[in-house]
């Protein structure tokens, strides 16, 4: 289902897919069929919610995109890379196109906020001058420039998630994969995070976000993919959450 708005967005930004899955299956060694024939296209600059009951395959769906998992069958391309057939040593270069955010932030506890963000740039061997400039820039964007030299333990949950977001976007990825980014946060803080993600999306980054937060999905209307029993059962522009829990 296409809305006037999405057609307009595609017209303005071009309709090239940044993520494409074709008949993707994922069966784990224990025999569990996490995904069963999923096909989907996600365009550049889209904001997509992935919803569905626990254990329905949301996490597998997300992990396949940043190649934490490899599909058993089918094709996945991310930002032009066919990641199903990717050689081991090329994986890092694909990951540089993807920023990942988790429910539990995954910051390094001994490093300061600044160092946590800079770490992501050092790991891909960015030039030091650029690192300094860019890290301060994204810390400013997430609103934590003033707390750059605090360690995660000295920051609130929402602030830690903002640092994690800063780290995810610091290398200018084409896509952000957010696996329940507000799962550990109170409603008010969650809205702050959502506004930040919306802002990042507005600046041109595709966002794929798995969530259980009904209020957010129903208020900040975006495309919704519902996954149940390893299949996409609903794909709706400006969709709603559709579950009672």
């Amino acid at each position: 289902m296409e809305t006037v708005e999405s057609i307009k967005a595609n017209y303005v930004l071009g309709s090239d897919e940044v993520i494409e899955m074709q008949d993707v299956w994922k069966t784990y060694p224990n025999g569990a069929h996490a995904l069963q024939g999923v096909s989907v296209k996600i365009n550049r600059n889209e904001f997509v919610y992935v919803v569905g009951p626990s254990g329905a395959g949301k996490s597998t769906f997300m992990k396949l995109i940043y190649r934490e998992e490899v599909p058993t069958k089918g094709q996945i391309s991310v930002n032009g890379f066919n990641i199903g057939k990717l050689k081991q040593r090329k994986i890092p270069y694909v990951r540089r196109n993807i920023g990942v955010i988790f429910q539990d932030y995954r910051l390094l506890p001994k490093l300061t906020a600044y160092e946590n963000v800079a770490f992501a740039m050092e790991a891909i061997e960015a030039p030091p001058k650029l690192i300094k400039k860019r890290v301060m820039e994204v810390l400013d964007l997430v609103g934590l420039k003033a707390k750059a030299h605090r360690q995660p333990s000295q920051l609130s949950g929402g602030e830690q998630q903002r640092i994690a977001i800063a780290r995810a976007i610091v290398n200018n990825p084409a896509v952000i994969i957010a696996d329940e980014p507000t799962g550990n946060l109170d409603p008010e803080t969650s809205w702050g995070i959502m506004q930040l993600l919306d802002e990042i999306n507005f600046r041109g980054t595709t966002i794929v976000m798995a969530t259980h937060n009904k209020e957010i999905v129903n208020t900040m209307r975006k495309r919704v993919l519902a996954i149940e029993r390893g299949q996409i059962v609903r794909d709706q522009q400006r969709g709603e959450y559709g579950y009672e829990f």
Binding site: Y93, V100, L108, N171
Partner: protein
């Protein structure tokens, strides 16, 4: 890799060595023990080889002639021996020369009277040197066999340093073999200890590695600090080992010099220390790097 990245890897590697304090110490100690024993064996082999060389040059076959051998017969025997392909040189020592030699070693008062007239009891003799020391027993047998060729047996007795040569060769070989087995076993042990130490680092830094991989760090970028850590452990261990070996050998050498009977028994190593030190340090670092490779391989899949 840029210079800056290299510095970062060195810094990170050094940091883990310090952070893993006791584990690092255990690894370094195990490297010291194995390389020290290796060093001792190398020094031992070098000294035994030198000793064997010295002994080789002393090896000669002494052939004593029967008293009834006349000059003509003596010349025939001399030619026979000289024509053997194994023989390097032959020297005739008359009974008078023999007595003189004996007088020099024992003192003339013991042999008074023997030099007059026909009272010299010593036989004439040939001193024979061979080209290849290992053929000494064979040449001795060949000379003894000359007795069967002539109606009157010309040879009284053939004598050589029986046993010494063989024993020395045997010792060298045994020392080498035992040393090899010992050192291989100990090197393996150090490798496992190092790989364990590095596994601890990896476990402690699993989160960090996970994030590095997530943001797209290459495997070699992740691997380098662990290589550095392994190499540093190996380097420290081997440097200390070289120091210990050097100090120990110098003291032993000095002590041997002071004791007249041992003065000749230890060889001065001089420049060979550079070679020996180089070998030990290279080996130590190789053990360290190998150990670190063993433990990171499986962590870097995916």
């Amino acid at each position: 890799m840029s210079f800056r990245t290299l510095l970062r890897h060195l810094r990170e590697g050094a940091k883990s060595v310090i952070r893993n304090g006791w584990m690092s110490l255990a690894s370094i100690t195990s490297i010291i023990v194995s390389l020290f024993i290796l060093g001792v064996f190398i020094l031992l082999v070098m000294n035994v080889n030198a000793l064997a060389d010295k002994a080789d040059s002393n090896v000669q076959v002494n052939t004593y002639l029967n008293l009834n051998v006349d000059e003509e017969m003596r010349e025939t025997v001399r030619q026979e021996i000289e024509s053997m392909p194994e023989v390097k040189s032959i020297k005739f020592v008359s009974k008078d020369d023999g007595l003189k030699e004996l007088e020099e070693t024992l003192g003339s008062e013991w042999l008074e009277g023997y030099s007059e007239g026909d009272r010299n009891p010593l036989p004439d003799a040939f001193e024979i040197s061979v080209i290849e020391p290992t053929t000494v027993p064979f040449v001795a047998d060949k000379i003894s066999a000359l007795n069967e060729k002539y109606p009157v047996e010309p040879i009284l007795r053939v004598k050589y340093g029986e046993g010494t040569v063989e024993t020395l060769f045997k010792i060298t070989r045994t020392v080498r073999n035992i040393g090899f087995i010992f050192v291989a076993g100990l090197a393996l042990m150090s490798m496992f200890l190092i790989s364990n130490t590095i596994r601890v680092t990896i476990l402690a830094r699993r989160r960090e590695i996970g994030i590095m991989k997530l943001v797209g760090a290459t495997n070699s970028f992740i691997r380098w600090p662990f290589f550095v850590e392994g190499a540093l452990l190996g380097f420290f261990g081997s440097i200390i080992t070289v120091g210990l070996l050097f100090a120990g050998y110098q003291r032993l050498f000095a002590a041997a010099q002071a004791d007249m009977t041992l003065a000749q028994s230890l060889i001065p190593l001089g420049d060979l220390w550079l070679l020996l030190g180089g070998i030990i340090i290279a080996l130590g670092m190789a053990i360290g790097i190998w150990g670190s490779t063993m433990s990171i391989r499986k962590f870097l899949k995916v």
